[in-house]
């Protein structure tokens, strides 16, 4: 608690305001010990109290703090203030009146979505250009992370060219489930979203375009990993081409036959996949049946299992 108090005092001092440490401590003490407020919340409350007392706008207090420079793939926590060095990979339609721009930022490590609020009053960014995004806030929704640019953020164009990358990862395990929305699906011709019961979430009832994909769950007995196979990978791996899939579906008068076929080929078997990580998925570039010889494992585990009960306990 002393530490929190010191930090608050130091920060106010930077703004040229002298606050009594004892006063900070008394307030913290009361909130934390007497009223059982979590320390983080208490800190916030105390800061706000003194800001009001001294008539300092909140933005001034928080803005001038330097936020750490992180990589896009390192954003794994909600509500952090960070600085990013990124290229604007894609701009999306800002589909809300309070949004001025939204899209995708990327650096060498990966990508992250961003939102820029109208209220933030920031300059527009351009697709393909590189910027330093200072003081942006991370947020999370259903496991996806994004950053939002607000009043306190800064956008500084940089001349350096950033190559957006995505380090591939490998996962081996058994496929234990294929999720719905796999197999032969239809996509909206306008936004490419998968259709549900022939309707697009955005554009309503549309004449869909056929596509083939697999959303599967892999499991190595300790971890679960969602994987996504796009059309090319699905075609080459299952041997079912999109045309073949359409034919099968027409013949059976049912799209589900394709899914059944894929399930019986994949589920319950061991695979190694390589691909880029995207949210909770691995976008699979290559998938192969796990055929690593198991004899060595047998020897290794046997040796360990039959060894006397030594190291542990």
């Amino acid at each position: 608690m002393k530490e929190i108090a010191k930090k608050i005092e130091a920060r106010f001092l930077e703004l040229g305001v002298k606050v009594q440490t004892s006063e900070i401590e008394t307030r913290l003490e009361q909130l934390i010990n007497k009223f059982k407020v979590p320390p983080e919340e208490a800190r916030r409350n105390v800061i706000n109290y003194f800001l009001k007392q001294h008539n300092i706008p909140k933005t001034e207090f928080f803005a001038s703090r330097e936020t750490p420079l992180v990589r896009a793939s390192e954003i794994i926590e909600n509500g952090k203030w960070v600085t990013l060095r990124c290229k604007v990979v894609q701009l999306w339609d800002a589909n809300h009146e309070s949004l001025s721009q939204s899209g995708l930022l990327g650096d060498e490590s990966g990508t992250v979505a961003f939102k820029k609020w109208v209220k933030a009053n920031l300059p527009q960014v351009e697709e393909g250009k590189n910027y330093l995004f200072k003081n942006v806030a991370t947020s999370e929704w259903q496991g996806r992370f994004s950053v939002s640019l607000n009043k306190t953020s800064e956008i500084i164009p940089i001349t350096e060219e950033i190559t957006v990358g995505n380090t591939p990862v490998e996962f081996s395990g058994a496929i234990v489930d294929i999720q719905s929305g796999s197999g032969l699906i239809k996509r909206c011709p306008e936004c490419n979203r998968a259709l549900m019961k022939g309707a697009c979430g955005e554009h309503g009832k549309v004449e869909g375009l056929y596509d083939l994909r697999v959303k599967a769950v892999m499991d190595d007995g300790e971890k679960v990993q969602d994987i996504l196979l796009n059309r090319e990978v699905t075609e080459s791996f299952t041997g079912i081409t999109l045309d073949k899939a359409k034919e099968m579906a027409t013949e059976a008068l049912d799209q589900a036959v394709v899914l059944d076929m894929i399930k019986s080929k994949l589920v319950g078997r061991y695979y190694v996949v390589v691909g880029a990580r995207l949210d909770r998925f691995i976008l699979v570039d290559s998938i192969r049946q796990d055929t690593k010889p198991i004899e060595e494992n047998i020897k290794r585990i046997l040796a360990a299992a039959t060894a006397p009960v030594a190291q542990e306990a």
Binding site: G143, K263, G268, I294
Partner: protein, 191 residues
């Protein structure tokens, strides 16, 4: 990034040998909600809400009264699993219906325990999905399960909550389970 925001995290499918599952009878529930997941803690401390097994289907039987209800016996190097599939697991039930034993089968399912009229406690697996696989897959499963079981045994003396509960409930005989793992692996060598 373990959580995915919606608060729902898919349960890992644990690898457990038949001999170990047969001895399991410690149920645990996380949270008070009626939808909180049920777990079965095994003697080596695997806390399973879901298991993945591969073995040889040796017998099957439709024990349903009105609707079909299939039960199968799936054998691994250490013993047999009982697997069931009814009207709420149509795909798995269908597969059992059309498969002629013996055949290698992979099952993903929920472990359940029930008590017979005679008072015996039995464990079985309610299949979520079930597929015919090949011998290589089965061998790989045996080795993987041996590996993971050995890892659990090594951790059994630690202070991890699942290990502690398993130890207290079963007073697990570590040697017995080491022997089981060794036996399963030896059976692979013999082939």
């Amino acid at each position: 990034m373990a959580e995915n925001g919606s608060g729902f995290v898919r349960e890992v499918a644990h690898r457990v040998f038949a001999a170990e599952l047969k001895e399991s009878n410690l149920q645990a529930k996380e949270g008070q909600d009626q939808y909180s997941p049920q777990y079965l803690i095994t003697p080596t401390g695997a806390k399973c809400n879901r298991v993945f097994i591969v073995g040889t289907l040796t017998e099957k039987e439709d024990v349903g009264m009105d609707a079909e209800f299939w039960r199968g016996r799936i054998v691994d190097p250490t013993g047999a699993f009982f697997v069931s599939a009814g009207q709420y697991q149509p795909e798995a039930a269908q597969l059992l219906a059309k498969t002629t034993p013996p055949e290698f089968i992979a099952v993903v399912g929920k472990p359940t325990i029930y008590t017979t009229k005679e008072g015996n406690v039995l464990t079985s697996i309610r299949a979520e999905s079930m597929y015919v696989v090949d011998g290589a897959t089965r061998d790989r499963w045996v080795v993987e399960t041996a590996d993971l079981t050995a890892k659990r045994i090594a951790k059994l003396q630690s202070n991890e909550p699942d290990a502690v509960r398993a130890r207290e409930h079963y007073s697990t005989n570590v040697e017995e389970y080491r022997a089981m793992v060794a036996m399963a692996l030896e059976s692979m060598k013999a082939q």
